[in-house]
């Protein structure tokens, strides 16, 4: 039934044809049907075409999760443009730097981000026209005049533009979170996203009865996949941008009979330890599953979730990358108990293997780099052929993750290739340290660093968030680590903090956390790392 003809926006158009009056999206007090969203997206598309957007032109989308984001996103795709969704939390400086490398024809922004757009005045002239995403199809003249005059979206036709767009053409440029360096622009085609959307629908068994709570930003590839999959299946998405106030999200999940929830590891740490999840156990009868991706989640968090989530709610651990349109592997929930640390098996249409540094396929148990192939693998990095060559070759996409496959074909990730450090002569991944700190049962999150001590040799230090305040937390966690880890991996110092800084995707912000660490130790300034007293 999903005959999308290979284009992302066909999913929306087909749901609008099949289920015109079905609820598609809840955004605060707005409840929109498929036909309303499709009409609104079409008006954006026609407006963009009138503004000069032609297939292959970039359109920047700077908008928080909202009905406007959704119509802006599908509107861009329908116009044949390349959607370039940007992180709404980036500061004007960072945005300006990113925009320097892009060639947007039009800039679509939400009214709330108008100020940010205006602060980018310097790039406006070069970039083309700036419009605000229309708030409602019927609202009067929602577009603000750009340098070359205004544009009315509401006066545009409501029908599908039906342009001839190649499924293999670039549909969007999605920037990696930049938590490990400068964000890279990942070019994804319609075919990439369509293949991945279908595979996700298959393993999550999504139908039009599904209602997804969305707390992850749409500019992040995992957030976007929630939108694409539910719109393809004819389900609904409920937007809640206030996950910081966890009780409000649970309240809405109960009220809207949400069937699916998705988060990154920190989302679940917060749900477990800073939310009334346990009290909602009997108030979430519809919640079929919770999915987790976006990095490694320590074992005790998974075990606690299994205990505290309603008995009928399954936990689905997943693995992927922006470069893979989101998803590469998932762990079937009935195998979770026996394979708690696994990232699972490849999704439909994806093959994965473990390669040695010289390119040999490694057998079960042998650690190497995870390499994946499938129709969901990106076209390449935008304007960065060198970086593209490093990760894409005839073997597939080199994830940069180290891991192995077991005898049953389940994959395990042991660390990042570029995060291996040498401590006192041992090549190690700091993930083991972070896991041990959380396993103590006293910390909800931990980030470990390798820092030079006064003798300039690397030692392990960490910041951790205690579950409950207690004067002996640090001592007890350190004692636990001593019992679990070789001495050179026991973090010294271990600093306890209220919270670990996060990127807007919810992933730990390593450099932010390191700055926090330094400032707590009274090591002012950001240059030079030396001088950690041991």
């Amino acid at each position: 039934m999903l005959t999308s003809r290979g284009l992302i926006h066909r999913f929306l158009e087909e749901s609008a044809a099949r289920l015109p009056d079905k609820l598609a999206l809840v955004d605060e007090r707005k409840r929109l049907t498929y036909s309303q969203i499709n009409r609104q997206s079409n008006q954006v598309a026609h407006g963009l075409i009138q503004a000069g957007v032609r297939p292959g032109d970039q359109v920047v989308l700077l908008c928080e999760n909202s009905a406007e984001y959704v119509s802006g996103y599908y509107g861009i795709l329908k116009s044949g443009g390349i959607a370039v969704p940007l992180n709404t939390e980036w500061k004007p400086d960072g945005l300006a730097r990113l925009l320097d490398g892009l060639e947007p024809k039009v800039f679509l922004a939400s009214s709330r981000l108008e100020e940010t757009v205006r602060s980018l005045e310097s790039v406006r002239a070069r970039m083309g026209r700036v419009f605000l995403v229309p708030r409602r199809p019927s609202s009067p003249d929602p577009a603000l005049p750009g340098p070359s005059g205004g544009l009315s979206f509401s006066a545009q036709p409501e029908g599908n533009p039906d342009l001839d767009i190649g499924p293999g053409s670039c549909a969007m440029i999605v920037f990696t979170s930049g938590s490990e360096g400068i964000p890279k622009g990942v070019m994804l085609s319609h075919a990439n996203i369509v293949a991945n959307t279908r595979a996700i629908i298959e393993y999550l068994e999504l139908t039009l009865r599904d209602v997804q709570m969305v707390v992850l930003p749409f500019h992040y590839v995992m957030g976007k996949s929630l939108l694409n999959t539910h719109f393809a299946a004819g389900g609904a998405v409920v937007l809640n941008n206030r996950f910081a106030y966890t009780a409000s999200v649970l309240k809405q999940m109960a009220a809207e009979n949400v069937t699916g929830f998705s988060g990154v590891p920190s989302t679940y740490a917060q749900l477990l330890f800073r939310s009334p999840l346990a009290k909602y156990r009997d108030s979430l009868p519809a919640l079929r599953y919770c999915t987790q991706a976006g990095g490694h989640m320590p074992r005790p968090i998974k075990q606690d979730l299994l205990r505290i989530l309603p008995a009928h709610t399954r936990l689905v651990i997943m693995y992927g990358a922006t470069e893979a349109s989101a998803r590469l592997a998932y762990l079937p929930p009935d195998r979770l108990a026996g394979k708690l640390d696994s990232i699972g098996i490849p999704i439909a249409g994806v093959t994965m293997e473990v390669l040695s540094p010289d390119g040999r396929t490694l057998g079960p148990g042998q650690v190497g780099e995870l390499v994946a192939r499938g129709d969901n693998i990106m076209l390449g990095y935008y304007h960065d052929e060198e970086a593209t060559r490093k990760v894409l070759d005839h073997r597939g996409y080199h994830t940069g993750d180290l891991g192995y496959v077991d005898e049953d074909g389940f994959f395990f990730v042991t660390g990042r290739k570029d995060e291996q450090v040498k401590i006192k002569g041992h090549r190690v991944s700091l993930r083991g340290v972070e896991d041990a700190v959380v396993e103590s049962g006293l910390a909800m999150e931990c980030l470990a660093f390798a820092v030079p001590d006064v003798y300039q040799s690397l030692v392990v230090a960490a910041v951790a968030v205690p579950i409950r305040e207690a004067p002996d937390n640090a001592v007890r966690i350190t004692d636990y680590c001593r019992a679990k880890l070789p001495d050179y991996l026991v973090p010294r110092p271990l600093l306890l903090v209220d919270a670990i800084p996060k990127t807007s995707n919810g992933k730990p912000d390593r450099s932010g956390a390191f700055d926090l660490f330094r400032s707590r130790l009274g090591l002012g300034g950001k240059s030079g790392l030396s001088g950690i007293p041991t």
Partner: protein, 81 residues
């Protein structure tokens, strides 16, 4: 004038605005204004608990209690009453 408003304003200015005192209306959403995020809310909680000796329950983690200066002050008054 609410009791603890100036203390709360000072905390927010020091912690999140880095001393940059901007005119914040008492009913402005701290989250929407980009002043606090998830991490910030946890820091705010920790401050309220340590500084005022209250215990914020998990089910009280609602914007109605914490997302504006006015809401924080009313919530505090309630907790301290």
């Amino acid at each position: 004038m609410m009791d603890h408003e100036s203390e709360i304003r000072q905390f927010i200015a020091d912690q999140f605005l880095f001393g940059d005192i901007r005119p914040l209306s008492p009913e402005e959403s701290l989250l929407e204004a980009g002043i606090i995020d998830s991490t910030g809310v946890l820091e705010l909680l920790s401050y309220l608990e340590d500084h005022f000796g209250i215990k914020v329950q998990d089910e009280e983690l609602l914007p109605e209690n914490l997302d504006t200066i006015g809401n924080i002050c009313r919530f505090l008054d309630q907790k301290l009453a």
